[in-house]
């Protein structure tokens, strides 16, 4: 069975999904109750969970869902927005074709018969989309949008001091879209407190985020039956099991980890034990007993007070542990062991052959080790002393039902992911010329093929020098570092896209220069740094005039200083005369409520007006219009002066007259997250458009393998 895949089908699918997710979007969004086949109930507002719970059958829908989940996994946010963008982009494309405006298509497409014409058409469109995303979008973001960016850091980017208030509003806005209305404030405060409690000092925030994101499962405990507002933060680590033996001790406590039973086994597997007399058996039994006793006594003599074990220890060990005043916790998961290892640098103890070593290796101190009772369940509470930049703390999540706790756990984890992402620079594939940086009205890159060629020459010329110094394998390595560059240079579709788009230029060549260009700019990391600085300083100047809503140290002295610094750096980079990759620097944020969308809409529209190629104009108009869908949904329930049309006109007017854009929203959102979302959507759309037939097969891959193996036998 096969079905023709077309934009119509994809649009139908996307519209159904959109109608579901749009009800859950934004601060006014509502909850969804999912039941599992096991009978559990789960509450969520998380787009990814929702889409997965639907178990969609339609192949296009499945593809969309997998694309959205992949994006969510990477950035921790934006699955719902993904669907909405996609739906509106498809709608835009569909309506263009409906209207019969295909005169802009190349001639060879128009001469084809109907079905093939469609296929060629969509392939063509998908290629335009990809090139658009790789070149124009990045250009617009870097050149136009960046001047509106605010930062999560206080004004001086060198020190990277976190602005606490902006962080708070960022978190609040995030939780607004993820958890039920009555809990978002509480949770964002909890997360905020947690973050600052875990940090040794503020510049270590990235390591903390990485740690928490990786080990989040171990860092929270769920307690059902209590109201959400009883959730709290506990210093140290909470293990979700009770002591096997508990001997209360005060002061600093020495702990060890073991991963095997302390009592020696009577016989090792895959060996034979020959017993000739009964005495032999008794002797070996008593040796086992003596040996266990000796090890436990040795641990006691070394002042070990707590024994953490990844396996169940026999009764004998428990008995001697109690006699020696050693508390025992058994059956730790390997994740918990590796967490303790990572936080404290404690490695599992290798049981000593002789118990006469003066110093026992692999022990560490904890400040406390107590049972913790959370609503009739007993836990082990360890006050770990951290050896890294992360001070371990646990979150006790309370909720009336398990589903709520799970939702909050997901939301918190997503927030850590989002923050981790925010604190990284995002390098755009668009290359900016260092000496043109201050000129915002610079001629567009790749405006037409002629200019493009020139540019390439220019690029390769200027690159010759640094390139000659770099060993070849180094370039390769650097190219792989830039992951998203791979998307437009490495993937096959993209290179074909380039091939058809500019038939006169050799695509192979462009690809090479591209990577070389970026590599060279990577080599000069200082240049990029300066560039980031420039964005920052621009922003300070901007926000100073804006009666800043965001708490910024508006010390004009510092601001001007950094501006002058930026200028100096741009001068210096001018002397180097090279290209450097534009980037969205770490910590860039914008107010929520569709600010990013309206700004980008405005600039894309302006770009489309200036643009000379008709297909580029159309694509950028479609994207610009699709962007508006988000603010439209967000402002759906507002009335009067606060309604969407009013707000839209106000913002556009402000932009046209170069006035500061005033936002009524207090929350903030990450720019790089939004930008990545848009690129993910465009890539997903391009993927959908290139499919022309959906063939369903009855065979299952597993069965095929089985038959093969039987044949061989």
């Amino acid at each position: 069975m096969s079905a023709t895949a077309s934009v119509k089908v994809a649009l139908q699918v996307a519209e159904v999904l959109e109608s579901i997710v749009s009800n859950c979007l934004g601060p006014e969004g509502r909850l969804v109750l999912c039941t599992k086949p096991t009978g559990e109930v789960l509450l969520c507002r998380d787009g990814g969970r929702l889409l997965e719970a639907l178990h969609l059958e339609h192949p296009v829908a499945r593809m969309v869902v997998s694309c959205a989940s992949r994006h969510l996994k990477k950035t921790g946010d934006g699955a719902k927005t993904f669907i909405i963008y996609l739906c509106h982009l498809l709608r835009g494309l569909d309506s263009i074709i409906e209207k019969g405006k295909d005169s802009w298509l190349p001639e060879y497409v128009q001469t084809q018969e109907r079905h093939w014409k469609n296929c060629c058409l969509w392939k063509f469109v998908s290629q335009i989309l990809l090139t658009f995303q790789a070149q124009t979008l990045d250009y617009v973001v870097d050149q136009c949008l960046s001047k509106h960016f605010l930062s999560i850091f206080k004004s001086s980017p060198k020190e990277k001091a976190l602005c606490r208030r902006s962080l708070k509003s960022l978190l609040e806005a995030y939780f607004c879209g993820r958890v039920a209305k009555n809990n978002h404030k509480f949770l964002s405060q909890l997360m905020y407190d947690y973050l600052f409690k875990c940090m040794v000092y503020e510049s270590g925030v990235e390591e903390v985020l990485e740690f928490v994101d990786d080990c989040f499962v171990e860092l929270n405990v769920g307690v059902v039956g209590l109201p959400v507002s009883d959730s709290r933060i506990i210093a140290g680590l909470v293990l979700q099991r009770d002591f096997s033996v508990y001997c209360p001790v005060d002061g600093d406590i020495r702990i060890v980890i073991v991963t095997e039973t302390i009592q020696p086994l009577f016989s090792v597997s895959a060996s034979e034990c020959v017993l000739n007399t009964e005495e032999q058996f008794q002797a070996s039994q008593s040796w086992i007993m003596e040996r266990t006793k000796a090890i436990m006594n040795y641990l006691h003599s070394q002042d070990v007070k707590v024994l953490l074990s990844s396996v169940k220890q026999p009764d004998l060990v428990i008995y001697y542990a109690k006699l020696n005043g050693i508390s025992v916790v058994e059956c730790l998961s390997s994740e918990e062991i590796s967490f303790i290892q990572r936080a404290t640098g404690l490695f599992p103890l290798v049981l000593p052959q002789t118990c006469s070593q003066p110093e026992i290796p692999n022990t560490t101190l904890v400040t406390s080790c107590k049972p913790l009772i959370l609503k009739s369940k007993r836990y082990v509470h360890l006050g770990l002393i951290s050896t890294c930049l992360f001070i371990p703390h646990c979150i006790v999540l309370c909720g009336p039902v398990q589903g709520v706790i799970e939702q909050h756990r997901d939301a918190l984890h997503g927030a850590f992911k989002m923050l981790r992402h925010l604190f990284k620079d995002l390098v755009l594939s668009y290359l900016t010329q260092a000496n043109n940086q201050n000129d915002t009205s610079s001629p567009l890159l790749y405006k037409d093929s002629k200019e493009r060629d020139e540019l390439q020459d220019n690029g390769t010329d200027s690159i010759q020098r640094p390139y000659s110094h770099i060993p070849k394998k180094n370039t390769d390595k650097l190219a792989t570092v830039q992951t998203h560059l791979m998307v437009d240079s490495d993937s096959e579709i993209a290179s074909i896209a380039l091939g058809t788009y500019i038939p006169c230029s050799t695509p192979q060549n462009t690809y090479q220069t591209n990577s070389i260009l970026t590599c060279s700019s990577q080599m000069k990391t200082e240049v990029i740094d300066d560039r980031a600085l420039l964005i920052e300083s621009k922003f300070t100047a901007d926000s100073a005039t804006e009666n800043n809503r965001i708490e910024m140290s508006s010390e004009s002295v510092q601001a001007t200083k950094s501006v002058s610094k930026g200028k100096a750096s741009s001068v210096s980079s001018k002397s180097v005369e090279s290209y450097c990759a534009a980037s969205i620097s770490a910590g860039c944020v914008l107010p929520v409520g569709g600010n990013f969308e309206i700004l980008l809409h405005y600039y894309l529209r302006n770009y489309a007006k200036k643009c000379q190629k008709s297909e580029e104009t159309i694509v950028s108009m479609i994207i610009a219009n699709a962007l508006l869908s988000i603010p439209k949904i967000l402002y759906k329930s507002r009335k009067g002066n606060e309604s969407f049309p009013q707000m839209y006109i106000r913002t556009i007017h402000a932009l046209q007259t170069h006035q500061p854009v005033v936002s009524t929203q207090r929350g903030l959102e990450s720019v790089s997250g939004k930008y990545q979302l848009l690129t993910s959507v465009l890539q997903c759309l391009a993927k959908i458009l290139t499919i022309d037939l959906i063939i369903s097969i009855k065979r299952q891959p597993q069965k095929v393998y089985d038959q093969d193996s039987e044949d061989e036998l």
């Binding site: 969804v32 109750l33 999912c34 039941t35 009577f266 016989s267 895959a270 009336p400 329930s637």
Partner: protein, 570 residues
């Protein structure tokens, strides 16, 4: 070979609250919980129709355990109630009824769901602030120097479960027993960290309830023959006790994963038995009087021990191990080798005890940390219900020890709180709304629904067709008997308010709960000591009710916020 089956698509249903199925089932559920509420609540019989166990109950714990709900929204509701009960034991029906009432009252209101939820939250925080403040008029501090309030609290819990089928005298007896058992668990010396003792409930099914009693120490049931054999000696006290958690049955211990090759003529069992007997010799030389084992003791060892006048009790079971080791101060011994002398403990005395046809072995401790509650009951179902009720009462007492307050029961707290909310929303809407973007009109609309939910919760205590009144001074709840003459004056037909604190002769004004009356600020009642300690009051557990209120509103908010239900059909 395994087969992969494609997952079936889920069913997505929008606006579940407007859905027909839920509209039909939610009132049924509400009917079930409402009719079971309170001391005069109707009993429910749960049975599976094919001759299975029949459960007669009016308690939420038993009710929800037996009730199978299929609609996901109801599932959320019932798990939420069960989770609350698992933490607090009490106030399960309170949560259920309040939550249903809130959902029903708030559903039809023409305010956006977002606004309803936010206003609900504001009202809840108003309630919790008031209820935990000093000014609260429906909260009574607990005076631990007299047992009066605690006894009233226990009695309220026990009388509110009609399925126990207790007479007035029996209820008094059980209340006193439960309180005594609880007081036995409180240690005499208070350190930094107080750990309460344990109470073990011993079933005496088929006996009269009035025969129930509390004994310090642990009772181990055994047959007459065993008992006769075990008790030949009368030693001086205290008696030395050894408690084994390792098996003494003489089986081979875990020999690891390898293969054992045993030469002909070598008997490993004999080797182990030798080990056991040498252990026995050590016990004899250590002058142990009583040996207890969680698992089985080998008959030869038993024989050996009894020859040396040592009492051996085996198959104690895992559940008794912790209280036994706690009471006797022993360390469970996990070795067959040499025993460290510090792992022995002691008991003061042991004696046989006989209750009806059952023989028990009574271990009397030196210091009472563990006590046994022997509970009689006429039938299985009544006993189960009584056991559950006693557990609830004990838990409620523990919670009260942690937070030494009680609420006035019998519906008075609910009506009092409703009166307070009505008053506050009318006089100070600004202080409640703070800077939220809602109008006072919206607040009053939601507060009205909220108060009606509380008031109808109070009036669902009345099941006999009577009327529900409130006085306009204290805001307490008054039940109007259904057989009262229509034209009689109210002080004559009413006797006392729900909690029993106020009498009808105090020159009060009354109004029907459902009829509109002018909002007033309810006054604090007099302290209960002034009302005379002879009078019995109806009281509720403070922490359970406060948490119940929060859980009910939280859950109602969750359910009102639902836009879709996605059901996985796999």
């Amino acid at each position: 070979m395994f087969q992969l089956e494609a997952k079936k698509p889920s069913v997505c249903e929008s606006e579940p609250l407007a859905n027909e199925g839920l509209r039909a089932t939610l009132p049924v559920f509400r009917g079930i919980v409402t009719s079971s509420y309170g001391p005069t609540g109707r009993l429910k019989q749960l049975h599976n129709g094919v001759g299975g166990h029949v459960c007669t109950t009016s308690q939420s714990t038993a009710l929800l355990r037996g009730l199978l709900v299929t609609h996901p929204v109801l599932k959320i509701l019932t798990t939420s109630i069960s989770n609350h009960v698992a933490c607090f034991s009490d106030c399960g029906l309170f949560v259920a009824i309040l939550c249903c009432n809130l959902i029903e009252n708030l559903q039809g209101i023409n305010v956006t769901p977002a606004a309803i939820i936010e206003l609900n939250k504001l009202l809840l925080s108003l309630c919790t602030r008031y209820l935990s403040s000093e000014a609260c008029g429906c909260r009574v501090p607990v005076d631990f120097s007299s047992a009066h309030i605690l006894l009233c609290l226990v009695r309220s819990v026990i009388t509110s479960k009609p399925a126990c089928a207790l007479s007035r005298k029996e209820a008094d007896h059980i209340s006193a027993l439960v309180l005594r058992a609880f007081l036995l668990t409180v240690p005499e010396q208070a350190g930094d960290c107080i750990t309460l003792g344990k109470i073990i409930t011993v079933p005496l099914k088929g006996h009269k309830v009035i025969d129930s009693t509390v004994l310090p120490g642990i009772l181990i049931e055994m047959s007459d023959v065993q008992l006769l054999r075990l008790l030949p000696t009368q030693n001086s006290s205290p008696l030395k006790v050894a408690l084994f958690c390792a098996s003494l049955s003489g089986e081979l211990a875990d020999t690891g994963g390898g293969t054992l090759v045993v030469s002909y003529g070598v008997c490993l069992q004999r080797a182990v038995l030798d080990q056991l007997l040498s252990l026995g010799r050590q016990l004899v030389s250590d002058h142990v009087h009583l040996v207890m084992c969680q698992k089985v003791i080998h008959p030869s060892l038993k024989q050996f021990l009894s020859e040396h006048r040592i009492i051996a009790i085996d198959r104690v079971g895992g559940a008794l191990m912790e209280p036994l080791s706690k009471m006797t101060g022993t360390q469970p011994i996990g070795t067959l080798g040499s025993i460290s002398p510090c792992s022995y403990g002691s008991v003061k005395d042991l004696s046989p005890a006989k209750f009806g046809s059952k023989q028990f072995f009574h271990l009397v401790p030196n210091e009472v940390t563990v006590s046994s509650l022997l509970l009689g009951g006429r039938s299985d179902t009544a006993w189960d219900e009584l056991k559950l009720t006693c557990d609830t009462a004990l838990h409620v007492l523990q919670l009260t020890l942690k937070e030494p307050f009680v609420f006035l029961g019998g519906g008075c707290t609910e009506t009092h709180l409703a009166a307070y909310i009505r008053h506050m929303t009318l006089t100070e809407p600004g202080s409640i709304l703070k800077n939220e973007s809602h109008s006072p009109a919206e607040l009053q609309l939601i507060a009205g629904a909220f108060c009606r939910a509380l008031e109808s919760l109070a009036s669902s205590l009345e099941h006999d067709g009577g009327g529900a009144l409130t006085d306009l001074t204290y805001g307490h709840f008054w039940a109007l008997p259904s057989d009262s003459p229509p034209l009689a004056s109210w002080p004559d037909v009413l006797s006392r308010c729900g909690c029993g604190l106020h009498g009808s002769q105090e020159e009060l004004n009354w109004s029907f709960l459902r009829s509109p009356h002018h909002p007033f600020l309810p006054q604090s009642s007099l302290p209960p000591e002034a009302a005379g300690s002879a009078r019995s009051l109806t009281l509720d557990c403070f922490s359970a009710k406060l948490n119940g209120l929060r859980v009910a509103v939280d859950t109602a908010n969750l359910i009102l916020d639902l836009a879709y239900v996605i059901e996985d059909k796999n």
